[in-house]
Symmetry: C2
Subunit: 719 residues, 2 copies
């Protein structure tokens, strides 16, 4: 099947989500260059035999205790293949006491680390994936119909009847977008997010625009749904109202912690509330329709509401755009394909089908039932709550419905926690986001993405003081931008690939794209002044940022890429020291800056001389007299190394030394200057302010110089 | 003369204030050890001839432009002796654009840098030193008499007559302390501050207690006198009252800036106000006594004031202690001896004499005139202002007196700016304060001390909201603690040294010490609840801190001190790698951690192989598959270096690598492991967040390991 073929291609290109994404393979021309460089190395002197056995395992000697009191950790490695060691779990622990303590704390909070090979087992079963990925989508059923009717009722109670045709259009839209994504998933079986699909087919900028829209949506989802959940809690327990901010931050911290524990653990938390909400709403629907059937499905007339606005096209469009909020979250599955168990795309597609089916049933069912029961939006109570009261006049069922609603609103944020880090992973793999988003943490989770999302959402929550309702209009624009671009991308995809049945697929995606586009424009225009303008400004700015990031990484990759070495004859002897040197071409000059003659500087000098290369010691003196005194000490020592003293009459040390090295390098550009700096390593952190950071300042000053290599010879002070 | 002999001894011991204080000479036993270590180096292989001329000057080649666009700065050095270069002024400029800009700004603000040899010319003439060092002492005349009378008047108007005997006692005290310091100065001609004198004769703890007392006094002086000056300004211009805080901070910043320009420049600012104040008060005295002579020196009876307290001993003691505030600042000269022109101690002694004479004349003259004119303290006007009004009923003279008073109060802080950094310099030389206080800045000023004083005083000023009158009671305790300890130290000094006339000198110092001691106890007890308790707590805490600092430096010096090497036969081959190694004993193993094969890692590999020592490359792979792929690339390159791959199934890199190196080192403890880390150097600061700080984290993790040397091979990315 063409789709499976595409899946294999993708896997071969190495775009699967694995921890190895941080180590991309070499491009073919780089490989060729590597081979040619290697050929020229043959002349290099073969170094001596190693003085220790690098595999450790075959070494019979008992490990001696190290200077810093811990046992040498030979047991931390096991030998598996001849040239390969495997680090055991204790080898993860950092060396410092503070670091070890923090790591232990992290493990208590988030669980023991998971092996890279567990990445498959950490994936989601469909029954787990459904609640994780659908909490956002399904929770929007709790406010989507209401959003639509709230706009309609502005034109009077009579206009509420328009909800049925609008709902029908929305259902068509849901099905179209759902079908559209259903087709996308097998075509991009390793991640069918809007960013990937739009980048692949429409180019980088549309892809980045889709990503920017989704990122805004994810951050807003978290802060808005946390605010909604917290306000549901504080409505029930008004005593907690002053604690709104800490409560919200706590919820975000809990979401972060749950997700840092990994996908599987996080899933378990979300299964129950989501299913409870679905069951509760289904119960409302079943009981409601039974009661309606009892009166022959005769609609109750809505209460008379005076019209505030005329029933114009703009109002209808606004109502439509507001109702479309119910669809946010539908894209969750396509980004999360790599989190499914194999065969990933098939399981994802099935899950998407279930999700859309549930959405359509719940959404349409609620709209029709509201119409039949003649309910109108009221400021003091949500429509879902009104329905609940009508349906369950007595018993605990109403309370259960409300509790499930509050919980799913709170947990809707989790969908964003699932997708946002993956989106950043894909972007980082494409070079459009910082590479640290590629890194998988202890629990195979994308730590940096999770933390970024939490900080951004928490920041917005705090900045708005927990009142994030004003942000709801910002939702739809970003999401529908992503929908439109993704599906338009699929149209291009089918035109290019023309597999079996491509015309039918193209038509489906085209319908989805145009309907999404209409909603996008409607939302952007009708809600522009309500806040949508923020998105209209933020998306281009984000795209610009991503492009700048990409430009830097591209320049970096070009600079670091392997090029074949110049032909042997044309190798200019005075070429830049940072070319693709061969070992036999490196010309050494070892420089030892010496401030005083003590154990630290003598160690550095001994190390320098032991390298067996031309060595020069440099002393910077603040005045003539001190220079004379130092030279005298140097002669007392025996003058084993050529000493150059530089009198710095203005008492600066770093500047003159750096300029001196630069001058030496300018005199013979092919020289590699190795500056050997004795570095006092202190054990106690509070002793550091007692020492000038001269070594560090020297290193950062020398780092900018070409052809200068800096070597730190540590001297450990045990006090 | 014995005193001059002592001066020469001191100079030989190298305790003169010079920029070379940062480079203390070797102790005799260290020198001997150095010689013996040098003897054992003779066996080491003599390195080859240097590939460049280290003196640059004889090198005929034109400097090539460096990669970063500046001309190579060979012209920045001049050759003076065979092995010595002298850095010219441009060689001070740091390499980065930001750094160069900041340096230029600093030079515009504070003037061009001064050569170390200018240290003599930057010293003070007596006529300059007098205003600089006496502004604190003389300004206290403006509030000292008032402080005493304010206490006395509590016992009714009649008690004011007691001011004459009390003033007589104070004058005796002033003369005694003055004579006492006069003797101290030639005995300690390179700095006769209480810290030095008390440390030298009484031991470290009394010396530190004196230093702590003085430091508190200096910080309080600045914040209190700035507050007094600002409130004088805001009284005159009430519109400025809301700007009290910024004004005070501005004054402190100006004082700092003036002092950063150096002593000579700062002095010029202070000459006029101080002399103006002296002249104004002298005019008040002359005119006042002429008027009193007109009425036959018959005292005007003071206004009847009802008594609030009984006239007890405690009240008299409190009045005495309050009047003694006039003496704060008398110690200024003794700390500042090194800032005088040669012969330093003689000039300093003369200046001290003038100062005390002026103090006695002004203080006694004011007290007697106040008595003759029958003035009593009033809450709405200072006594000096009342005297001014009585003396100059018309004309601009009263306004001039007030202006001079306000100005000298504001500038009294400058005495602290002169002495505080010097005190820290002496303490740092003794290892009781961070060594950075030894460093002389561009203008031969003690930058770090000046900044520390400004930050501390500014912090107190801001913390108290500019209302620092509450701090005045804290003054006397710290100062008189220092006086007492210093003079008691001199008593011990004379008993030990017994030069000509030692008995007379001992008696003078003993009188000074006991009188100061009485004032100290009086002040501490009578003002304990008013705030003196803060000093009673702070001084021991500071002494403890200084002792902890000293202990650290002592341990550091012990650890770094040169010891003679062990005899050739007893050198254990598996000894610790950080002993006093000889070059011929260093056993190398070069380790190159390689994450990917690119230009950076190939440079590091080429550098490593070019060292010609046993070399091992290490790759940390997150999973088995990646390890296989990397090994395959390695073979494609040609397998020029032995590669060890470590699979880190939990994806950590730093931890396993550090533990692996530790294990290698444990296997052969005499090995020196050189870890060669390729380091990407970025040009733009905003690109840094796009890169993991893996190199830096690796370096800090490896820094703690024994026997591991870290070498950074930079690769410059020009984008």
């Amino acid at each position: 099947m063409a789709q499976e073929q595409a899946a294999d291609d993708e896997a071969e290109r190495g775009t699967v989500v694995t921890p190895s994404a941080e180590f991309p393979p070499l491009a073919p021309d780089e490989r060729a260059a590597l081979r040619r460089i290697g050929d020229r190395w043959r002349g290099a002197r073969r170094p001596d035999e190693l003085p220790v056995d690098p595999t450790l395992g075959r070494n019979g000697r008992r490990p001696a205790p190290s200077r810093f009191g811990r046992l040498a950790p030979i047991e931390m490695f096991t030998v598996e293949e001849p040239d390969e060691l495997v680090a055991t779990e204790p080898a993860q622990l950092p060396g410092s006491r503070l670091g070890r303590g923090l790591t232990r704390l992290r493990r208590v909070l988030f669980g023991p680390p998971l092996r890279s090979s567990a990445v498959l087992y950490e994936r989601m079963r469909k029954l787990i994936a459904l609640p994780i990925l659908s909490s956002d989508l399904l929770s929007s059923v709790a406010y989507g119909p209401e959003a639509m009717l709230t706009v309609l009722v502005l034109a009077g109670g009579g206009a509420l009847g328009l909800s049925l045709p609008l709902a029908a259009v929305l259902v068509v839209l849901m099905i179209a977008v759902g079908l559209s994504y259903r087709q996308t998933i097998p075509a991009y079986p390793h991640g069918a997010g809007s960013y990937i699909v739009a980048s692949d087919n429409l180019g980088a900028t549309p892809g980045l625009a889709a990503a920017a829209g989704l990122m805004l949506d994810y951050v807003l989802t978290v802060s808005v749904s946390v605010a909604a959940g917290v306000s549901a809690v504080t409505s029930a327990l008004p005593g907690l109202t002053p604690a709104t901010m800490p409560l919200g931050v706590l919820v975000i911290a809990l979401l972060l912690a749950g997700n840092l524990r990994g996908v599987r653990t996080a899933g378990n938390i979300f299964v129950l509330p989501t299913y409870a909400f679905v069951v509760a709403v289904l119960a409302v629907l079943v009981v409601g329709y039974l009661r309606a059937a009892g009166r022959g499905f005769a609609p109750v007339p809505p209460p008379p509401v005076p019209a505030v606005e005329g029933l114009g096209l703009l109002l209808v469009l606004r109502a439509f755009a507001s109702g479309a909020v119910s669809m946010t979250g539908i894209e969750a599955v396509s980004n999360a394909i790599p989190a499914f168990r194999p065969t990933e795309w098939r399981n994802a597609r099935t899950t998407l089908g279930w999700m859309v089916a549930m959405l359509v049933v719940l959404f349409a069912g609620l709209i029709v039932l509201i119409h039949l029961d003649g309910l109108a939006p009221r400021p003091d109570q949500t429509l879902l709550s009104q329905l609940g009261r009508v349906t369950f006049p007595t018993g605990p069922w109403y309370a259960l419905l409300q509790a499930a609603t509050a919980l799913i609103l709170l947990l809707a944020a989790n969908t964003a926690y699932n997708d946002f880090p993956r989106l950043l992973f894909f972007m980082a793999r494409g070079g459009h986001a910082p590479r640290r988003f590629l890194h998988m943490g202890d629990r195979l989770e994308f730590t940096n993405g999770l933390v970024t999302l939490s900080v951004a959402a928490g920041g917005i929550f705090v900045a708005f003081g927990g009142h994030t309702k004003a942000l709801i209009p910002l939702y739809a624009v970003g999401v529908f931008l992503a929908f439109t671009l993704s599906q338009a991308g699929m149209v291009v995809h089918w035109r290019r690939h023309r597999g079996p049945g491509w015309r039918r697929r193209l038509v489906i995606n085209a319908v989805g794209a145009s309907m999404s586009g209409v909603v996008l424009l409607t939302a952007a225009f009708s809600k522009f002044t309500e806040g949508a303008w923020v998105v209209v400004i933020a998306v281009p700015l984000l795209v610009l940022l991503f492009r700048r990031i990409h430009r830097h990484y591209a320049a970096l990759d070009r600079a670091l890429a392997l090029h074949p070495p110049p032909a042997a004859g044309s190798a200019a002897p005075a070429g830049p020291a940072e070319g693709e040197e061969l070992p036999q071409e490196v010309r050494h000059l070892v420089i030892v800056p010496v401030a005083r003659l003590n154990r630290a500087s003598l160690r550095a000098l001994a190390y320098a001389v032991s390298l067996g290369r031309p060595t020069l010691a440099v002393h910077i003196a603040p005045e003539e007299a001190e220079a004379d005194r130092f030279r005298e000490q140097w002669r007392a020592w025996g003058d084993h190394v050529r000493l150059e003293t530089i009198v710095s009459p203005y008492r600066a040390v770093i500047g003159p030394l750096a300029h001196y090295l630069e001058a030496l390098h300018a005199a013979r550009a092919e020289l590699t200057l190795t500056v050997i700096v004795p570095e006092v390593v202190l054990r106690r952190r509070w002793h550091r302010p007692l020492h000038s950071r001269a070594e560090q300042r020297l290193r950062s000053a020398l780092g900018a110089l070409p052809g200068v290599v800096v070597t730190s010879v540590p001297v450990h002070i045990c006090d």
